[in-house]
Amino acid sequence: MDTFIQQIINGLVLGSIYALVALGYTMVYGILGLINFAHGEVVMVGALTALSIVKVLSGSGLPGPVVALLGLMGAVPVCMALGFTIERVAYRPLRNAPRLAPLITAIGVSIVLQQLMMLGWGSTYLSFPQLFSAQPHSLMGASINDLQIMIICVAGAMMVGLVLLMQKTRIGRAMRATAENPAMASLMGVNVNRIISFTFVIGSALAAVAGLMVSANYSIAHYSMGFMLGLKAFTAAVLGGIGNLAGAMLGGVLLGLIESLGSGYISDLTGGVLGSNYRDVFAFFVLILVLVLRPSGLMGERVSERA
């Protein structure tokens, strides 16, 4: 039983991170119909930026959570600027190009970012300093540490904040209107280009937070860490129904749980033939299942509906 609870906890932590990244994919898709494959690299840039700040500050005697917060305060603006720039430089000039063009550009941006970061941060795995007490708390026979609690709480708070932003504010209304019908939103006086920039900026801020979380959680950061994380978050977004915010959150958490429970039990289920190093298989197995059985995702609606 405690293995089960433990995997649930691990899954929630992982799922919170996936959800934050998946939101970035889904918001951009909702507004532009574009899969921003460079989004995973934004997470990586956030992680490495935070890592550098944290490394400098971790010897200063400041308490760990304060160092983490300062790391975020550095990484978030950097990623926001990066997201803004990516859209301006790589996607906006191709706004009216065939859909394949921005997709290929996205892959190009992704490679460029990886290589640039490799030049600056090297190609070795970098260890992320321990910022939170490793002392576990026991919870229903399983253990959870301060960092895991922080990840779940911060991710939850950010998601609530995002929902409030989308539902209750002028800019959120403009974003939803643009997602439904950009031409009409423009006629209502909404500056669609600004809304698109804003969407990239918000998604990138979430990505920066996720970047710090994931590298703190695994105590490691690396120039190519964004690729697999990005793919899985994309899977989460598709699982929930791409374009749908609630779907991205649900998809992220579900995928985290599936992956954790899967890797926790796979060894027992296969009599030891497959080990927990097969964890990545689950994410993509889920992706295939969803695409076959319910291509629009769990919460996805019909492909398009225009009033």
Partner: protein
């Protein structure tokens, strides 16, 4: 202040080889209901789309409220004071009726990202003001009872009136209605007529494209007729109706 609100000068527009508009000039005066009619394919909607910034014109210019209209940038056109509705209703289907109108207030409100995050007093007051004005506009078009329903769940007539409320939310000087009576029954058309008159009486100039010639002739102060992309008449309804060129365009040469 000149009494001319909109002055379109020699507007031309072609698609591929087809000349949709040729040298169309017309003037709309402040406070009038101006009708634009013509047989199918005469270029009415194209002209409308040029005026509202959806298409950029190939030739000519539009003066609006004594300034050059920034054709080709819809949100700028809206800012300058032109709002429109569509022949085929284009609401934000998955937003509530109230939210649809609130989006229309976007331009006339200011709160930015920082205000949205901080939820400071100015932001809350502005949000309350936006909601309040949106409610009043819904009352104005008589859709307030369904304020919180999704736009796609509204009846056809309510959707049409909601679209008008949303356009009015941008505080236009000119409200452009593209076939607002299309698909309406006689009762709904009568209600629409009253609504358009009260909008005019409240100081908004109205441009109306309409197939229903009877409605146009009864409602409009002046009427222009387009045929094959050219303006063939522009005058008060009584004179336009008797214009031989108009009769020919509508009924064919035999009866003229």
């Amino acid at each position: 202040m000149s009494n001319v609100l909109l002055d379109a000068r020699r507007i031309g527009k072609s698609f591929g080889g087809v000349q949709a508009l040729r040298d169309v000039s017309l003037t709309i005066r402040r406070g009038e209901i101006y009708g634009l009619i013509g047989p199918n394919g005469a270029g009415k909607t194209t002209f409308f789309n040029v005026l509202t910034g959806l298409y950029s014109a190939d030739a000519g210019e539009v003066m609006f409220d004594e300034a050059r209209l920034n054709i080709g940038a819809p949100h700028e056109v809206t800012r300058q004071g032109i709002a429109r509705t569509f022949q085929n209703i284009r609401l934000f289907a998955n937003m509530s009726a109230l939210e649809n109108v609130m989006v229309g207030r976007h331009l006339r409100s200011r709160t930015g990202v920082i205000g949205a995050v901080l939820r400071n007093k100015a932001t809350r007051i502005e949000e309350a003001d936006i909601a309040d004005r949106a409610h009043r506009l819904l009352q104005y078009v008589n859709v307030d009872a369904r304020a919180n329903d999704l736009a796609r769940h509204l009846s056809y007539g309510d959707q049409r009136r909601l679209e008008i409320a949303r356009a009015l939310a941008t505080e236009p000087k000119l409200l452009a209605l593209d076939e607002p009576a299309a698909g309406m029954n006689a009762t709904e058309t009568a209600a629409l007529r009253e609504l358009v008159e009260s909008i005019r009486d409240d100081g908004v100039t109205v441009l109306l494209i309409e197939h229903d010639v009877k409605l146009v002739m009864g409602l409009c102060n002046r009427v222009a007729v387009l045929d094959y992309g050219e303006k063939i008449a522009e005058d008060v309804p009584e004179l336009v109706q008797r214009d031989p060129k108009v009769v020919e365009a509508y009924l064919g040469g035999a009866l003229a």
